[in-house]
Amino acid sequence: MKRKLSLLISLLMVLSLITACGQSQDSGTASADEDVIKIGVFEPLTGENGGGGLQELGGIQYANKMYPEVLGKKIELVVVDNKTDKGEAANAVTRLIEKDKVVAIIGSYGSGVSIAAGDIIKNAQIPAMGASCTNPMVTQGNPFYFRACFLDPFQGRVMANYAIEQGAKTAAVIMQNGDDYSVGLGNFFINAFKELTGDENSIVDVSEFQVNDTDFNAILTNIKAKNPDVIFAPSSATTAPLIIKQARALGIKSLIMGGDTWENPAIIDVAGEDAEGIVLSTFFDENDPATEEAKKFVEGYKKELAGKEPIIPAVAALGYDAYLLIRDAIERAGSTDGVAIRDALRETKDFEGVTGIINFTEEGDADKNIAVIKTVENGQFVYIDTVVVK
């Protein structure tokens, strides 16, 4: 009896392991034939950034549905989950390259995991296209990593600029220790804010927290005592609502701002009424399509989402663009060789994407100077302004 039971338990545990990896294997099994071209999708589907990763994946899969072929072959997406974990990210990318033999990689949401995977990508000479990883270090010194979005120095400046336009004289910053995205964006904001106000003491508080922290009362109490005009808290969509709710519960009335990760319905779901009035920057607005491709995308993807999400998330648009950029490069390269695709990507000229016209800089970053600023009103993300920085 005992033996049977322990056997059953160990069986259950093995099963749970298989189901945990199973999702990623689904798409990888069916292709022994040479008539497919495999593109790896490297996203966090679980863990802290699971919500955002799924949004981005949605855009990539929709693009695959719209444009399923290249060079007369079918494109197959191989999805792996990096679990919002830097160690896991290296494993996931290695698997894509070694086992699944993908010709290119899209992803990831979250700069930390992208940076962690960067060296493996560089050494394997497989071109990668980040969709929404905004930290400069993702592409720096890596000739094989490209990205479709703007960068954090730009984003930090846009937010600092907006805060000052709203009359802010002082700011407090909350960042997640060990998260490259959060610390990077936070510091770019600090520098831009100091520079724009011309006052070294305009940042009244910088506080850090750890991954999976849920209690921010202590740091928020410190911030409350310093009474800043704005609080800038670049953080994941998992953490942000907790910060917002606890700040409001403590009676903090300051304007609360975040970065692109905040454009996620989870924030409004969890923070509820307290989310009203928060301000965030993002890449794209569905009401202001920049190109013909964008109009088509907004119409089609809205139907695809079918009310699952109230608005098209910007990261889905970027995922869509990332896929199209890779596909376009393979088409022009005329081969699936990593270096050939990389060279074709470099030569991308005035590519008409959903998030605007895309050219790449020397580093492989999309040359973008437009950010969209949004707020939350009556439980919905509302467009405030499009900022163009020359």
């Binding site: 039971l5 589907l45 750890q210 779901d269």
Partner: protein, 297 residues
């Protein structure tokens, strides 16, 4: 530092400390009886939070009925865990049962990820608990105020059960000497099941209070509280219920005070828990209120 700021931080510390204390009781009781660190305790806490989300948001039950269902369901889960993962290993070496506990913990985390996805869910807003209360410039929610009282009351209930009832006497006997208690005709399985019932229901109550304060429910939400509460239990002297509560309060207060007085170190807040653990293990391995256990030859 103004007095108001300090009072607010004090309230923050007491409130987080009492949540740690609630969970730490569960750890310490199971350890006291089984000499087992129940690593899955934090995951029962996580599942309880999900049960609450489903009973209130999906089945639209009033919160007090939801709370009862959550406690019953968590107790059921705790018992199931004991029956399947721990009881078959009752006579196995202690290391095996500990590995089984780690396995059970991973199993629950992966199961939750599989069933509910990694995307956080909002915890239902229980107005009675989340209503803000202001005392002067200090802002608190109702749940922050009642949590310490709930913890103290439950501590007394647990102490009453262990010290004044028959099953409590059996528990103490089992914790002193497993084999002899069994020889004396004590139904070991019943005693252990009772321990899991108490531990799981405290985890469920903890989850409800935790959720109304930090309304984000996800599969890994139990990991960090689980670790910290284990440390709280060790700090207070593992196996000692009052010690666990004391340890929880000390740990919560230490974390908050670190942030209050040493602001450049706010990012090291989680580290303080582990630093405390190391110091306790070095200086007083039995914890603040723990008894020295002599090994029988």
């Amino acid at each position: 530092m103004t007095i108001e700021l300090f009072m607010q931080q004090l309230a923050n510390g007491i409130s987080i400390g009492s949540l740690y204390a609630l969970l730490a009781i569960g750890y310490t009781m199971v350890y006291g009886i089984l000499r087992l660190i129940n690593f899955a305790h934090g995951d029962i806490f996580m599942m309880a939070a999900y049960f609450m989300v489903f009973s209130i948001i999906n089945f639209k039950l009033p919160w007090y009925i939801g709370a009862v269902i959550v406690i019953v369901a968590s107790v059921g889960l705790g018992l199931l865990l004991e029956r399947t993962a721990y009881r078959p290993l009752r006579d196995a070496p202690r290391m095996s049962i500990m590995i089984s506990a780690i396995g059970a913990s991973f199993f629950l985390e992966n199961l939750a990820t599989y069933l509910f996805t990694g995307v956080p869910k909002g915890f239902p807003d229980i107005k009675v608990l989340t209503k803000p209360v202001s005392i002067g410039n200090i802002s608190l929610s109702v749940s922050t105020i009642i949590t310490p009282f709930v913890t103290i009351i439950l501590l007394y209930v647990v102490l009453f059960i262990t010290n004044k009832t028959k099953i409590g006497m059996a528990m103490r006997a089992v914790s002193k000497d497993f084999e002899t208690a069994r020889l004396m005709g004590i139904n070991i399985n019943k005693v252990i099941a009772t321990t899991f019932i108490i531990g799981s229901s405290l985890a469920a109550i903890g989850a409800i209070l935790w959720g109304s304060k930090y309304p984000s429910v996800m599969p890994l939400m139990g990991v960090m509280p689980g670790l910290k509460c284990f440390i709280a239990a060790v700090l207070g002297g593992i196996g000692n219920t009052t010690g666990a509560v004391l340890g929880g309060f000390i740990l919560g207060m230490a974390e908050i005070m670190l942030v209050t007085f040493l602001q450049p170190l706010t990012g090291y807040r989680d580290a303080i828990a582990f630093v405390i653990l190391i110091i306790v293990l070095l200086v007083k391995p039995t914890g603040l209120l723990g008894e020295k256990v002599t090994d029988k030859v």
